[in-house]
């Protein structure tokens, strides 16, 4: 039996004349994810994308699970293909979905007749298939309002498709349709969630991670690689820059007042990230900040860091509670990695009482105390190491 994958795109239908471009990007993203599993052919028809494996030993379970993480799709389903002949259709329904139907108490049949030359109308197809299932499965009942299992029969121009219930797609917009942005990733819970949320709106990702060896461990960097690998299952390829930040942190420690340490550090980080982001052609910077979560994320502290950015700063977690962020991090499977106990550069040299109400003037004055700031920043940018993170290669 020949099997295919059917995809329903979501918001793309609203995109008018740009729709075809968006769909092409979507197909490209899907191809990047599943090409390592084998060869597929892709076809667009109405609001459906049809993916056909070119040979039968391709692992479709894995393909479907990968496709379910591609943004821009609301539904993913597998279907059996058969001849447009009612007897063949009944036979295929039984071969393909019989086991599932035998485990269900109620069912419903949906028919879609795109090919109007097919002799039976949609309600007639439903009658035929429904009656057939009732005769085969003892005790099963029809329930059109709340069925446990739904069988869909689609009569297309070239063939009939038989499928069970549709899986939920990842939603959002195809990655790459929203330009590129740069996520500041620490290794905590929030930043991978922020990266995921922006990727969901079609943004391609560049990431910047600040490491402070020897205060931070190699394990902390490896943790970031693992986190981004999880995110890249959704977002596709991520360019990661690791910035060695020790010299700047030590300079801030040596020259700035203790209570301004965190704000100053974040301002410098924002400068470095903005520069790398612009160099990568990003249109925005993303952070995982949530208002009031810690001293550096008060509204005043955010104002101080924000003015150092040369690009718009997106903060998708800004209005979320910790438990809401945790919920998403569990969904995208980053939570268990995030809670591994390695210090990241934000927790090195933590002041005892960080200032929660800094003003931009204070922040600027403090920053000016670092004697060779520009030079240190330039060095950080020049010596940043890039690596490519991609889940399915």
């Amino acid at each position: 039996m020949k099997e295919i994958i059917l995809l329903k795109d979501g918001e793309l239908a609203l995109k008018g004349l740009n729709r075809s471009t968006f769909e092409d990007i979507l197909i490209k993203n899907i191809r990047m994810r599943i090409s390592s599993l084998g060869n597929f052919t892709y076809r667009k028809s109405q609001s459906t994308i049809v993916i056909e494996p070119e040979n039968e030993d391709i692992d479709l379970d894995e393909a479907v699970s990968r496709i379910c993480k591609v943004f821009g799709l609301v539904g993913v389903s597998r279907a059996a293909v058969c001849e447009k002949d009612i007897d063949k259709i009944l036979e295929t329904v039984w071969d393909y979905l019989g086991d599932e139907l035998m485990l269900s108490k109620t069912f419903k049949v949906n028919a879609k007749r795109a090919d109007k030359k097919f002799p039976l109308t949609s309600p007639e197809i439903c009658d035929e298939v429904g009656g057939f299932i009732l005769s085969k499965v003892r005790g099963i009942k029809v329930d059109v309002h709340n069925p446990e299992y739904t069988v869909t029969v689609e009569i297309r121009d070239n063939a009939a498709y038989i499928r069970g219930p549709q899986l939920k797609g990842a939603g959002g917009m195809p990655t790459g349709t929203g330009g590129r942005a740069c996520i500041l990733i620490s290794g905590g819970i929030d930043s991978p969630v922020a990266a995921y949320m922006m990727a969901k709106r079609g943004v391609k990702l560049t990431a910047v991670h600040f490491a402070s060896p020897p205060y931070t461990s190699e394990l902390a960097e490896m943790k970031v690689h693992e986190l981004l690998k999880k995110v890249s299952m959704y977002s596709g390829r991520i360019n990661l820059f690791t910035v060695h930040f020790t010299a700047l942190q030590e300079a801030i420690r040596d020259y700035c007042p203790e209570d301004m340490f965190t704000v100053t550090m974040r301002r410098v980080m924002m400068k470095i990230a903005s520069a790398l982001a612009e160099w990568q052609g990003c249109e925005a910077v993303i952070t995982g900040e949530s208002l009031g979560q810690v001293a550096s994320q008060t509204i005043k502290a955010i104002r101080c860091t924000d003015e150092c950015a040369t690009l718009p700063v997106f903060r998708p977690c800004i209005g979320m509670d910790k438990n809401e962020i945790v919920e998403i991090s569990r969904k995208i499977d980053t939570f268990d990695i995030s809670i591994r106990p390695y210090e990241d550069c934000c927790t090195v040299f933590t002041p005892r009482h960080p200032k929660t109400r800094p003003t931009p003037e204070m922040a600027r004055e403090t920053e000016a105390l670092i004697p060779n700031e520009d030079e240190l920043i330039k060095k950080c940018i020049e010596e940043a190491q890039m690596m490519i993170i991609e889940a399915f290669r």
Binding site: P213, P214, Y215, T216, S217, E218, E250, R253, E258, F261, P341, E343, V348, F349, T350, P351, R352
Partner: protein, 377 residues
């Protein structure tokens, strides 16, 4: 240059063991249980390796049972002994400084209703004889303690245990975790008067994946694993012959332990002398500890930061025990050290291949760290 000073976590495999393992992987790869000549040859290698371990332990080869790790040897000894003796009493005595492969077993037994008494260490890190005399009674079925502490090198007075047991006429079996001691000081279970004793291969330049349990002749304990009955039914599962052959070879390659101990003591004294020039360094290991292990704290530098710093220079040390990540050392807490000192404690562990130059480079590294690292604002 690479300076490996984490030999209590694991060791580099010695050339003798590498040869034995390779031979076993490529030529002598039979299953010791098979009855054809390939199998018989493997069985002979297994027996020869057992004899080599027995030679080092000064015991009969029939008293040596190969396990798949030190942890499995400890678990089997403890649960096996308790299972065999449970009808004769309810009290188990251990110390509060055990490796997790012992202490976690004790937690489990406590939950099952046994009375577990954990002796607290004195300031030098080992338990005191009078504590033992006061706790062993006729109801005691097992006494389990380590010979050398894995974090500090403190040595427990284990040879006294059998006398205490005899005087109290307790039915207790005595188990010794000698994993850190084996291959460093003479470990002779018969002379120590113990019934069960665990050792591990990868701490003595053999590969990982093999340990052994000494079970004194006449002692019966219940096996922990059920299966094909290998190792006289004590450790079922096909013998990891390459690792076992490596273990045998590594045991045979051990030098004269007393002379080696003297050399290592000189190295440790050299280290102590060098480190004494750095005011920030405090020594946590007791002065009479095994010289192979040196536990120190560097004031103001958290353990992980010092490890990272030295790691960048190719010098590898560890924080306390490598077996449990991210926790404050229970051993140092039990020794009554202040929290700050525990948070900056690191363990330097040497092997017979450690040289004085390596120690000198390490001490210099610590000195640089003290000069360059400041975590306080």
């Amino acid at each position: 240059m690479e300076i490996y000073l984490d030999n209590s976590a694991t060791t580099k495999v010695c050339p003798e063991a590498v040869r034995a393992v390779t031979d076993c992987l490529t030529e002598n790869y039979g299953n010791p249980s098979a009855v054809h000549s390939k199998g018989i040859k493997a069985k002979m290698l297994l027996d020869a390796s057992r004899q080599k371990i027995a030679d080092v332990l000064s015991c009969d080869s029939s008293e040596v049972y190969f396990s798949h790790s030190g942890t499995l040897a400890n678990n089997t000894a403890i649960f096996g002994a308790v299972e065999a003796k449970r009808k004769t009493g309810n009290r188990i005595i251990t110390t509060s400084l055990e490796h997790p492969s012992v202490s976690r077993c004790m937690d489990k037994l406590e939950k099952c209703g046994f009375e577990v008494i954990r002796l607290a260490p004195s300031a030098n890190g080992s338990f005191r004889t009078e504590q033992l005399v006061n706790t062993v009674n006729k109801n005691t079925i097992l006494i389990s303690t380590m010979l050398v502490n894995n974090e500090t090198g403190a040595i427990n007075p284990v040879e006294l245990i059998s006398k205490v047991v005899k005087r109290a006429s307790a039915p207790a079996l005595i188990h010794i975790d000698a994993i850190q001691a084996f291959g460093k000081i003479p470990v002779k279970p018969a002379r120590m008067g113990v019934d069960l004793l665990s050792i591990s291969g990868h701490k003595v330049h053999a590969p990982k994946g093999v340990g052994a349990l000494y079970i004194r002749k006449g002692i019966k304990i219940k096996p922990f694993l059920s299966g094909g009955g290998q190792e006289n039914d004590m450790f079922s599962g096909t013998e990891a012959l390459p690792a076992i052959a490596g273990f045998g070879a590594a045991a045979s390659a051990l030098p004269d332990l007393n002379r080696q101990l003297e050399q290592t003591r000189n190295l440790k004294n050299f280290a102590l002398n060098e480190l004494s020039k750095i005011p920030a360094v405090e020594i946590n290991s007791p002065s009479d500890a095994l010289p192979y292990i040196l536990n120190i704290s560097v004031t103001g530098i958290p353990s992980q930061v010092l490890i990272n710093y030295l790691s960048q220079k190719g010098i590898y040390i560890s924080a306390g025990s490598a077996c449990k990540k991210g926790h404050r050392s229970e051993v140092l807490i039990a020794m009554g050290l202040p929290a700050k000192r525990i948070d900056s404690a690191v363990r330097v562990s040497m092997s017979r291949f450690t040289t004085q130059e390596e120690i000198a480079v390490f001490c210099e590294g610590v000195n640089d760290a003290v000069k360059n690292i400041r975590t306080k604002l």
